[in-house]
Amino acid sequence: MLKDILTPKKVIFAPTSHTELRGQNSRSRGVTLVCGNLTGNSRQDISGVSARVYKNGTYGFSSMAEYSPEAAEAVLRAATENADFMSLHINKGKPSLPIVTGGNRILETDIKDADQKVYIDFAREIDNYIAKKYPNLKSRTVAAREDSMEKLLRISDGCDAHTCLQRSYVYVFLNSETTSGAPIELFEAYGGKGAFEDNFKDPQELFPKIDILYEKLMQKREGVYADAGEKTVILGSMMTGMLAHEAVGHTVEADLVLGGSVAAHNLGKPVASEIVNLTDFAHTAFGNKTPLPVYVDDEGVIASDAKIIENGILVGYLNNRESAQHFGMQPCGNARAWAFSDEPLIRMRNTAILPGTDKLEDMIASVEDGYYLLDSNNGQADTTGEFMFGVCMGYEIKNGKLGRALLDTTISGVAFNMLKTVDMISDKADWYSSGFCGKKQPMPVGMGGPAIRCKVMIGGR
């Protein structure tokens, strides 16, 4: 755990500039078994300290791969010099950052660390189970992973904090062939926030879930191609989460708004049907902790929920302190940095469409000819809101009943057009948090939501 060697350095912060001093320890542990071969077996521990100084509208930043009082002083010096350099050459003459609530959040959880043997033994037992029970698979991959970010933040004006975000997952990839010999794959990530040993006590607990995954793969073997064109579909929670994150969330990040994203021209305007509400949650949602809770961001802002769409109207952006001042909004704690050597960027935390009042079975029953799209293996969106998501598991809906499984397909559209077609939203939401969001730096994020009924373009073969 990081010792507090940073508080004494507050006395040397430049008196008139906003200053952040952050110590960080990032860990990752991982093993990968490909068809029983242990191809990955590694541990990584990366730590250091960084400082960022705001002066006249630009930042100076510096980091050092060493967590010591001397390194803290060195990065403060270098960040100040860099801020002075920028102030001399590019003086924007901007005012100081807005004042935010102060305080000091203390680390509340233990940070556990399992031996590598724990990951290897767990993955091996899962792999043995699959190899023995399902010998006809074309290939299989099992990976066990844990990553954590412990941060100690000391700030000139705002909330000091000592936080840790730890998460662990087991990934299972199963490969087979269709009856015509085309390769097919399905994967599932199990786990969530917390240490590996807390999330995975007994490999046998995963066996029934792997059986379900295998069953889906067998359905996909007999799968059919979707008919191309605009269709009525039910998007499952994962697809809804992907839509919330990729196609809407990124376009409302204030740095991208300033770069000309579609949200720049739509604040206060209807961008979805009236039943759609979308929020970037900080740490609590629907009465429970979010999958990856954020309490204080890396600019010392106490985290709160950021409403993005309310009753179909675009009501806000995701901000850091500087962009919040620019847009006259409140910062909600969206400035997050990945490694000790990274500066905070505007990032999502736990982004979801809010549940509605419909029952999933009624929604499926309401579709005469369409699709129920469950899982995605990738997704991309443009700052224009145009999106494309791969669909790796889904079913036909014919006359209100689920039909054959689908082979891999894609859906595409423009978010603020497509969201206006949403006419039913289920009453239950699920979260997904095993991936990374990419934007200069990677970042763990949560995304989710209920099932929604909407119209979307679906690719065929």
């Binding site: 490909v34 068809c35 071969n37 242990l38 191809t39 077996n41 590694s42 541990r43 521990d45 990366i46 250091g48 630009t58 930042y59 100076g60 930043f61 510096s62 980091s63 791969a65 060493e66 860099n82 801020a83 350099f85 920028m86 050459h89 924007k92 031996d115 590598q116 043997k117 290897i120 033994d121 091996r124 074309k138 991959t141 490969n175 085309a182 390769p183 794959e185 191309a228 740095d255 991208l256 300033l258 770069g259 000309g260 500066e343 293996n377 990738n378 991309q380 443009d382 700052t383 224009t384 145009e386 494309m388 791969g390 891999d408 894609t410 595409s412 200069k440 373009m457 690719g459 073969r461």
Partner: protein, 433 residues
Amino acid sequence: MEKYKRIAEDILKKAKELGAEVAHCSVRESETNEFNVDGNEFSLFRTLFDRGVTVTVFVENKKGSVSINRFDDESITQAVQNAVSAAKSSNPDTAWEIAKNIGEKHFKRGALVPDREKLFFRTKELLEDIKNRHPLIIVEQMIVTHTSSKGVYMSTTGNTYFSESGRYNAELMYSAHEGEKATSFFGSDVTVADLDKPFIDCAFIERELTDIENQLDSAPTEGKFTGTVIFTPGCLVGTVFGNICDNFASDSVLLDGTSLWKDKLGKQVADERINVSFKPSDERIVCGQVYTGEGFIAEDFDFIKNGRLNSFLLSQYVANKTGNERAKNSSFSIVIEGGTTPLEEMIKNVKKGVIVGRFSGGSPGTNGEFSGVAKNGFFIEDGKIVSALSETMISGNLADMLNNLVDISKEILIDGTVVAPYMAFDGITVSGK
């Protein structure tokens, strides 16, 4: 360099004392100076002092690996212990192998010391050039860096490599805007060893900015047709050959046996005009790879020669597992040979098709089937560009496509990391509204 050498020697000594029969490690430090622009304005200047240690050990043919970024004795000792412990918990596998008896080598490349003032000048100049020459462009983000690194690689198998390198890089993401009209975003990138030329004159930056400005008035293609697709060099490298490498020739697909090309070595897999190599020592590549992660000296090699598959892209480990040869380097310094036809001529020869600047789609499966949105592109009909594209999808099969080559351009992108032309393929399905 002596400091890194001492640490590396200490690591290998400790590993042997703890029971490792074979071990290798790298010890390195780097400095990065970086200017950031957001929304057309300078936002940040950062300086990073980084270091890294990677230790890999083999105990009874079992492998363990640990990475840290500290040089102190306690952290080094702990890292070696953790690597040995991880190895002992692992599975024995006789396929693990690292390079032997190459000896001592010294590598020095690029601009080792940053010229911060000139880097700032070139960054500001690029921003001003874009504002003056391309007023409709908004630079969403620009990151301009100088990175230098030095360090030592050492193995118990008799190899010690000293390396120093430094390079400049400019990456920019931008889109064009006019009122509420906006294009899709696009990224340009260049890596250089010196700052002699303005960035806008490097690689295809000027050409790409012009293309994006010309995409403001876009429309979907009508209906569905099978036609010609011209991939820009960037899209050809990332979308076409990036996926071909991963799906047909990489470690994972040869190891799990899902590669369509697993029995194609030495056989025709593409049109005979297609030549693709990996050449980290090519003079057009800046600071290319000098040794692989397994300690082999990086050498240039042909991947596809006159349409024949000349080599897989395998590590020594997977080469041993599958009975193939390892690739002579593990970089992505891809060099795709150009042709003789000017791009303008290639466009004139297209009856109906599209130019694709960026592909937004999922990774194709191991069967090579791809489907996704054609971004930053143009619709061509009867040899003329009719309009820019929006909401248009393309789909096809990568393996089949290589045998449906129409032409290769004379114009070649040289961006310091890759060398590639435009390439046109027939038989691609294009679907609009």
